[in-house]
């Protein structure tokens, strides 16, 4: 019921390797992959949830062996084809260079600062009151996974399904990724920060007072 990216709590990945402080310096192609992915977003053919799902849909073998920006650029190529921007034969370089119908959407250098500053807020005006309030006990749904699209995008990690926690904050109504990743509309729902005791999630928590907080949409939760 899950995909390869959903790795919270997994064993066996080895040590974390710290790096120097400051701005992380990327290699040439990694920086290019980052910029290419951001720039292609301006073509307007997908949203952030669609692009996250494209990365998750890489084969488990590829997702595991690829470096981070290989994942990005490979998912970008998949997305450009899935969304009809390019064809497989375009990717093979078999078609002559002809100005694309979407060329007018091409992000220009003088637009970059404005686009990055604008971002893409996910909060939407509230249309219904939140069902839960801070302090209330809730349980995450189990089975997890996307309940609208089999194998679809969701932001409830497998490790946190069926767990009981307490609402800590109400963030307002946010676009529901499970819907928005599949062109089913933004379907905004109340979003909550929910606090779980580590013992709710792990067989052998490190410390009795440790906690994990997740941001969870209302439809991921039920009263407990």
């Amino acid at each position: 019921m899950t995909r390869v990216h959903d790795m919270g709590g997994r064993f066996g990945d080895g040590p974390v390797k710290p790096e120097p402080q400051g701005i992380p310096q990327l290699g040439d192609w990694q920086a290019r992959a980052l910029a290419l992915t951001l720039a292609c977003g301006s073509l307007g053919k997908w949203n952030i949830d669609v692009s996250r799902h494209a990365r998750e849909c890489l084969s488990p073998k590829d997702y595991t062996r690829f470096s981070y920006f290989e994942i990005w650029v490979s998912a970008l190529a998949d997305l450009l084809v899935a969304r009809g921007v390019l064809t497989k034969s375009d990717l093979q370089g078999q078609d002559p260079d002809v100005l694309h119908a979407l060329a007018e959407k091409c992000l220009r250098a003088d637009q970059v600062a404005g686009v990055l500053a604008k971002g893409g807020p996910a909060e939407r005006p509230a249309n219904t009151p939140p069902q839960f309030a801070p302090g209330q006990t809730v349980r995450t749904r189990r089975p997890g996974g996307n309940h609208m699209v089999n194998g679809g995008h969701t932001r409830l990690p497998a490790y946190a399904t069926g767990a009981t926690g307490e609402v800590l904050r109400v963030h307002g109504h946010h676009v529901l990724p499970d819907s928005n990743a599949h062109d089913l509309g933004e379907a905004p729902e109340p979003l909550y920060a929910v606090r779980f005791a580590a013992a709710q999630l792990w067989a052998n928590p490190e410390h009795p007072n440790d906690e994990v907080i997740l941001d969870l949409w209302e439809s991921y939760l039920e009263p407990a």
Binding site: M7, D13, A39, R52, K88, C106, R108, V115, E211, V212
Partner: protein
């Protein structure tokens, strides 16, 4: 190499060549302006980075009213300082205390507060950090050379939505009377993710 029907498999398998090929195809069709890519790279390699978040933390240490405003509505508080935009649309600041240490991860991808910290370091995006931070934060902290008091509880924030979390580390001792510029030098990137602590004055170079 494994073969499947994902379109990317028709591109060269060498990653540098894969990126170059895709950029060339998209540029040829007028879908990409290479100068815009240069601009994006310059932004995240030279302009936006953890020095932004450090200014926020230093100000919170120095100005009680700002600290209160930051903890109440960080999005508004940091926007007022000019820090907003992509991957920082909704911000929450969480404060470390002797009783509680906060640490941020994104187990499902690599969500990170770009306008405040810039692009994430490699380890933040690594399988090891994403898998372990939620289950064994203290062991992860030990990879960074950090040991907490047994009296300190750890609260790990898994960034599963578009909320972006900024850790406000504890202000080091013996910094009374320091200016905000001086204080900001103590605030490392990792201390604002929660895998480090703010530097002590004697640790400054």
């Amino acid at each position: 190499m494994p073969h499947d029907d994902h379109p990317h498999t028709v591109l060269p398998s060498d990653p540098a060549l894969r990126v170059k090929t895709l950029e060339t195809i998209l540029t040829g069709k007028g879908l990409i302006d290479p100068a815009a890519l240069d601009e994006i790279i310059d932004t995240y390699q030279n302009k936006i980075g953890p020095q932004n978040g450090a200014r926020v933390v230093a100000r919170a240490w120095d100005e009680p009213d700002f600290r209160a405003a930051l903890l109440e509505d960080a999005t508004a508080a940091v926007s007022e300082m000019g820090f907003f935009g992509r991957q920082g649309e909704h911000v929450v600041a969480v404060e470390n205390t002797p009783e509680r240490h906060n640490m941020v991860v994104c187990t499902l991808c690599s969500c990170y507060p770009w306008p405040l910290l810039g692009i994430p370091p490699g380890w933040y995006k690594s399988d090891a950090y994403r898998s372990r931070a939620v289950r064994e934060p203290r062991k992860v902290l030990s990879d960074f050379g950090v040991t907490l008091s047994p009296d300190t509880a750890v609260r790990v924030w898994d960034s599963t939505a578009e909320m972006r979390y900024l850790v406000v580390p504890m202000r080091p001792d013996n910094t009374e009377g320091w200016s905000q510029d001086e204080l900001a030098r103590l605030v490392t990137r990792d201390s604002m993710i929660g895998t480090g602590l703010a530097l002590r004055p004697e640790e400054l170079e």
